[in-house]
């Protein structure tokens, strides 16, 4: 009784890698412990896949 499309499902890649930055509610931005903005560190964002089209797919499907 499994829908056809689920024959092509694969385990979701767990993106639960701990990010080296945290949300600062005062700045309304994610920042590193040294105060740098996460949004400006493209190397880290690429490495974590934080901005890719599968990020956040658990709750949102507008990839």
């Amino acid at each position: 009784m499994r829908p056809f499309a689920l024959n092509y499902a694969r385990p979701a890649q767990q993106l639960e890698v701990s990010a080296p930055y945290a949300y600062d509610s005062r700045l309304q931005l994610n920042v590193f412990p040294d105060g740098r903005l996460a949004a400006h560190d493209y190397a880290v964002l690429r490495e974590l896949g934080s901005t890719t089209s599968t990020a956040g797919s658990k709750t949102h499907f507008d990839d």
């Binding site: 056809f4 890719t52 658990k58």
Partner: protein, 329 residues
């Protein structure tokens, strides 16, 4: 006038836009509806023919009448972080928040009504066809025989979720996948299935639209790439997204699409075939764009910030049920 951003704390793509707004000294309030009630609080009154509402988060207090725009990015479900979360509290909180925001004259990126409709892939395909965008032959069906007949007509097929959603419990991903020629389609009866003629592509295209601005990026498919790697999101390619010009016919079709859909933002996916034709695959009304900006250098976050910060158009502001259809651009 303040920009309101509804998104979760982990959303670093929203960070890119907040940073741009900060750079321009544009007041911005960012909150996650999941934190209402609790860290996020609201109040609104409808007295003597007028509405006055306020939102508060993290020590910031903003008048809803002072909102210039609302960006719905990656919000959590209302009240989902509440100590005693429930479906009822979620509905109550969502109705209070979004109902009050609908009472304002703020511009939306994107209006919830437009967003909800725009998520329907079958509707996307129909609208794209009406806008003159090439759409690969597609079948959505629960009839196994219809699937077999379609496979006879179009032997090289892919399958993808109708909704784009990924199943949970356990968490799984359902990439766009190639369907083998000898596939048994009996299981089509157990769930609506979207089958589409595979476009033999030489590149993937991501066209991010912000108001009237378009940012097209292209990612080349290597000639020796595995033809079974159909879904660019899951492909192992090392190619980078590079800026590319948008063909005028595509740009015209996309503008019509956005206008008809009432969208201020849309991220379109196309497959470029060997002749250079761009085939419409889908339009994500809240698609990710950070990864494109990072690789292509296109200033998409700045464009989003510009749109959100723009002054309201002159003249009376329509705020009826169809207002969003006119507010997209």
């Amino acid at each position: 006038m303040t920009v309101l951003i509804l998104t979760c704390e982990q959303d670093v793509t929203a960070d890119m836009v907040v940073a741009e707004l900060d750079r321009g000294a544009v007041p911005v309030v960012r909150l996650d509806p999941a934190d209402l009630p609790g860290p996020v609080a609201l109040s609104g009154e409808y007295v003597r023919g007028t509405f006055r509402g306020h939102l508060s988060v993290g020590g910031r207090l903003v008048s809803m009448g002072g909102l210039r725009s609302v960006w719905i990015r990656r919000p959590g479900a209302a009240a989902s972080h509440a100590a005693e979360a429930s479906d009822w509290l979620t509905e109550e909180s969502a109705q209070a928040l979004y109902g009050m925001l609908r009472s304002t004259d703020a511009r939306w990126m994107n209006h919830p009504d437009a967003a909800r409709r725009a998520r329907h892939k079958p509707w996307q395909l129909s609208l794209a066809q009406r806008c003159g965008l090439p759409v690969p032959a597609t079948l959505i069906t629960t009839f196994p025989q219809a699937a077999r007949d379609f496979a006879d007509r179009f032997p090289d097929l892919v399958v993808k979720p109708v909704s784009g959603a990924h199943p949970q419990e356990p968490p799984r991903a359902v990439p766009t996948s190639r369907v083998a020629p000898d596939t048994d389609f009996a299981a089509v009866a157990f769930g609506p299935t979207l089958l589409q003629r595979r476009v033999v592509k030489r590149a993937d295209i991501r066209l991010t639209c912000v108001g009237e601005r378009m940012f097209a990026a292209r990612k080349t498919v290597a000639p020796d790439a595995d033809p079974d790697e159909v879904d660019v999101r899951f492909a192992t390619s090392s190619a980078l997204w590079q800026p590319v010009d948008t063909p005028s016919s595509v740009a015209a079709g996309v503008r019509t699409y956005l206008r008809e859909a009432g969208l201020a933002f849309g991220a379109f996916d196309f497959a470029e075939d060997a002749e250079g034709m761009w085939w419409f695959l889908e339009c994500n009304q809240s698609g990710q764009f950070g990864f494109v900006q990072i690789e292509s250098g296109q200033p998409i976050a700045a464009a989003v910030a510009d749109w959100l910060a723009a002054p309201p158009p002159p003249g009376p502001r329509p705020n009826g049920a169809r207002a969003w259809a006119m507010e997209g651009h």
